[in-house]
Every structure is written in structure tokens, then in C-alpha cells.
């Protein structure tokens, strides 16, 4: 007897498809339409071909200069926070207790920053860093260290970075802690019998066993920091000057501030492409890391 395959269950996906169509596909198509045209409002559009893309990719133009500068700032920001958060997260995870009530206490304390919404984090640090009423700003200035994130670009960067580290190191630490907890005791016993040093245990057992969770942590933090908007917008508003104007802030300025829909659409498509590529690499590496590869499966 031949089995029939019933595909009617696919109709159950229809509501999701409709939701995605309204929330993602139709807006995306509209952005593509906008990126090739110019408008002065009132739904009147003028064909511009790939003009906006040409401008976007040419550093000598205003749009290209702003795009490449904010892209560069964003990449530097992501690199700095990764370089701080990943080692710090590992150290915190290694120094956390393994048993007893202290575990629960540590986990709750670590989870607290993760529960706070982005704009609230921004507001907390905006007030915390103020030289007149903020605890951090006032203390630093009282100690003779000139600190003002509104007027000094270095201070603004330091504030945004420290804020991100405060907000997200917990995520890395919790992921690493989960990775560490999954290492069986037998590994540590074997290391003890071999007389391995603390450093050898870290490099030969703990780090290799944590590589999957570290990969998740690095890629999650990269994507999040690459799309960062709310926190720096609340704290510095992209300033002083353009020093903390990251790519999403620049995008909103162009789209909503200047109402240059064509330029903003072209920029968001390129921005989207970069994120899409990173997501694909993330997904591919995640799903294939550690998977056994067939020895000879070149052809079907």
C-alpha cells in the first residue's frame, strides 16, 4: 500500500506568514522601492536609479562619509566591548561558586542588569554620569579627574562602553557558567592525577569545553552591539559632535530627522545586508560546530 503524504498542515502556517508579510516582507519591499527613488512627501516619488547607492558607497559624498564613519565607529565599538566582555565574563564565571546558596545569589545578581530595558539603562547611566548630580560624574570630578560625557568625546565613549559592559557582561558570564557546569568531574579528577596546574586545567579542559557557548556569546554580543541604538541615543544622543553616532542612530537621523527616505532606505539595505551575512555565518557556524562531518560525501 502506498502511503499518501498530507501537506494540508502547511495551511496552519498561514497566519504566521500573514503576520510576517505585514511586519517584515511588505515594509522590506517598500524600503527597496524607496531606495531607488526620491521624495518630498505627499507620496510623490521620482526615479533615481542606483543614485543613492552610488552616493552611499562613495566616501567623498556627505552620505557616504557619514555612512562609512558610523560603520567604522560601530565596528570599533563592537570590537572594544567584545574584547572586554568576553574575558571578563569568563573570569566571572570561573570565580563563581559551584554549590550552596551562593550560586542562587550570584545568578540573581548577575541576571539583574539583563532584566532592565535598554532605555532605562540609558537613563540610569545618563544621570549616573552627570557631573552636577550624578554619583559617578560628581565623584570623578571631585577627585580631580575631569569627566564630562556631554562635551568630551573620550568620556562619551568611555561611558557608552562601560554602560554596555555593565549591561551585558552578565550574559557572557551566565553562558560561560552554564558551559563550565556541564564539564563532568572526571576531567578535573584526571587533571588532578596528572598534577595539572590551574592554568593547564583552564587551557586544556575548561576553555575547549566552553567554545560552543563562547561562540554563542561572541556572536550574540557582536550582533547586539552592531545594532545598538537606544542606550547611546539616550545617554549621548550621538554626541559630542558625531563621536558616538553609531550606524542606527545615523540611519534614524537621515530617515526621520532629514526625511531623506531614499538615502535612508539605501543605507538600511546595506546595513541589513551586513547583518544578514553575520546572522548567516552565526547560524551556519552554530549548527555545524562540533557536528561530525562525513568522510566522503562530496556528491549526492
Amino acid at each position: 500500500m502506498e502511503k499518501t503524504v498530507n501537506q494540508k498542515a502547511w495551511f496552519l502556517v498561514l497566519p504566521v506568514f500573514l503576520v510576517v508579510a505585514f511586519s517584515a516582507i511588505i515594509p522590506m519591499m517598500t524600503v527597496v522601492n524607496y531606495s531607488l527613488q526620491d521624495t518630498f512627501g505627499n507620496n510623490q516619488f521620482f526615479w533615481n536609479g542606483v543614485g543613492w547607492f552610488k552616493e552611499l558607497l562613495d566616501p567623498s559624498t556627505d552620505l557616504g562619509g557619514r555612512f562609512l564613519a558610523s560603520l567604522g565607529r560601530n565596528l570599533i565599538f563592537s570590537a572594544i566591548i567584545l574584547a572586554i566582555e568576553v574575558p571578563l565574563g569568563i573570569v566571572i564565571a570561573l570565580s563563581m561558586p559551584r554549590t550552596g546558596w551562593q550560586v542562587a545569589a550570584c545568578l540573581v545578581i548577575l541576571a539583574l542588569p539583563l532584566l532592565i530595558p535598554w532605555n532605562v539603562v540609558g537613563t540610569i547611566w545618563q544621570i549616573f554620569g552627570r557631573p552636577d548630580i550624578g554619583l559617578l560624574g560628581y565623584t570623578l570630578n571631585s577627585l580631580g579627574i575631569e569627566y564630562n560625557y556631554v562635551s568630551n568625546a573620550f568620556d562619551a565613549w568611555a561611558t557608552v562602553i562601560v554602560m554596555d559592559v555593565w549591561h551585558w557582561t552578565s550574559l557572557v558570564a551566565l553562558l560561560c557558567y552554564a558551559g563550565l557546569k556541564s564539564i563532568p568531574d572526571a576531567y578535573y579528577q584526571a587533571a588532578q592525577i596528572d598534577g595539572a596546574s590551574r592554568w593547564a586545567v583552564f587551557t586544556a579542559i575548561q576553555l575547549p569545553k566552553m567554545n560552543r557557548v563562547l561562540l554563542i556569546a561572541v556572536l550574540l554580543r557582536f550582533m547586539d552591539s552592531f545594532m545598538i541604538y537606544t542606550e547611546p541615543f539616550v545617554v549621548t544622543g550621538g554626541g559630542p559632535g558625531n563621536s558616538t553616532t553609531f550606524i542606527s542612530i545615523e540611519l534614524v537621523k537621515i530617515a526621520l530627522g532629514q526625511f531623506d527616505l531614499g538615502k535612508a532606505a539605501a543605507m538600511s539595505l546595506v546595513y541589513n545586508l551586513i547583518i544578514l551575512i553575520v546572522c548567516w555565518v552565526f547560524y551556519t557556524v552554530m549548527t555545524n560546530a562540533g557536528a561530525a562531518r562525513p568522510v566522503k560525501e562530496g556528491a549526492k
Binding site: T30, N33, L36, F45, W47, L57, G298
Partner: protein, 109 residues
């Protein structure tokens, strides 16, 4: 049509999305009519036809953007269509390269 005026449709973008929709429809039909197994290519990752299409589309986008940024979009020929003629942008060369890359991706990745 006033209700979708905000979407700012143009003929070129409509043709572009129609091509994408057609490609997805053909790929869906292929998946139903000729089921396939994943294979390992030069990237050493398991890929299906859908994965290879995705990689090809992403590469096509990158190639077009690089072409616009590095080469430009000068007119390379004028076809005798209409009164003023139809100007062929050099960007079509990027499209041809993308098609070649897509063929290579489908055969090797």
C-alpha cells in the same frame, strides 16, 4: 491604487520582486517534486538547493554593491529602442557576473 501609493512601486522593482517570487515558487515546486539530500561542497558545510540559492543571492547583492562602489554605472551601449534609445548601464555586467557566480555556487558549494 491610492491605498498602496505609499509603497512607491515602480516597474523595475515590481519586475525584480516578481522574479524573486517566481524563483521561490520554482524552488518550492522543485523541493516537492524532486526531494534532495544535503551535500557537502567546497565550504565543507551541508547545503540544500535553498541554501545555495540564498548564498547566490547574497553574493549577487555584494557583487552589485562592489560594482557600484568601485566601477560605477556608466553607459556601455545604447539599444535602439524608443525615440531616445535604451541606455545599458555597466551594472548589467555585474548581473552577468552574479549569474556566473550563482552557477558556480550551485555546482560546487
Amino acid at each position: 491604487m491610492d491605498s498602496i501609493a505609499w509603497m512607491a512601486w515602480t516597474l523595475p522593482t515590481a519586475i525584480f520582486f516578481a522574479c524573486i517570487a517566481l524563483t521561490l515558487t520554482v524552488m518550492t515546486w522543485l523541493a516537492v517534486a524532486y526531494p534532495e539530500v544535503e551535500r557537502f561542497g567546497i565550504l565543507r558545510i551541508p547545503t540544500t538547493r535553498g541554501d545555495r540559492l540564498f548564498i547566490s543571492l547574497i553574493l549577487a547583492a555584494i557583487i552589485h554593491l562592489l560594482w557600484i562602489g568601485l566601477v560605477g554605472t556608466d553607459t556601455i551601449a545604447t539599444l535602439p529602442i524608443g525615440e531616445e534609445g535604451f541606455e545599458v548601464s555597466s551594472l548589467w555586467l555585474a548581473t552577468l557576473i552574479s549569474l556566473g557566480v550563482a552557477v558556480a555556487v550551485f555546482r560546487t558549494v
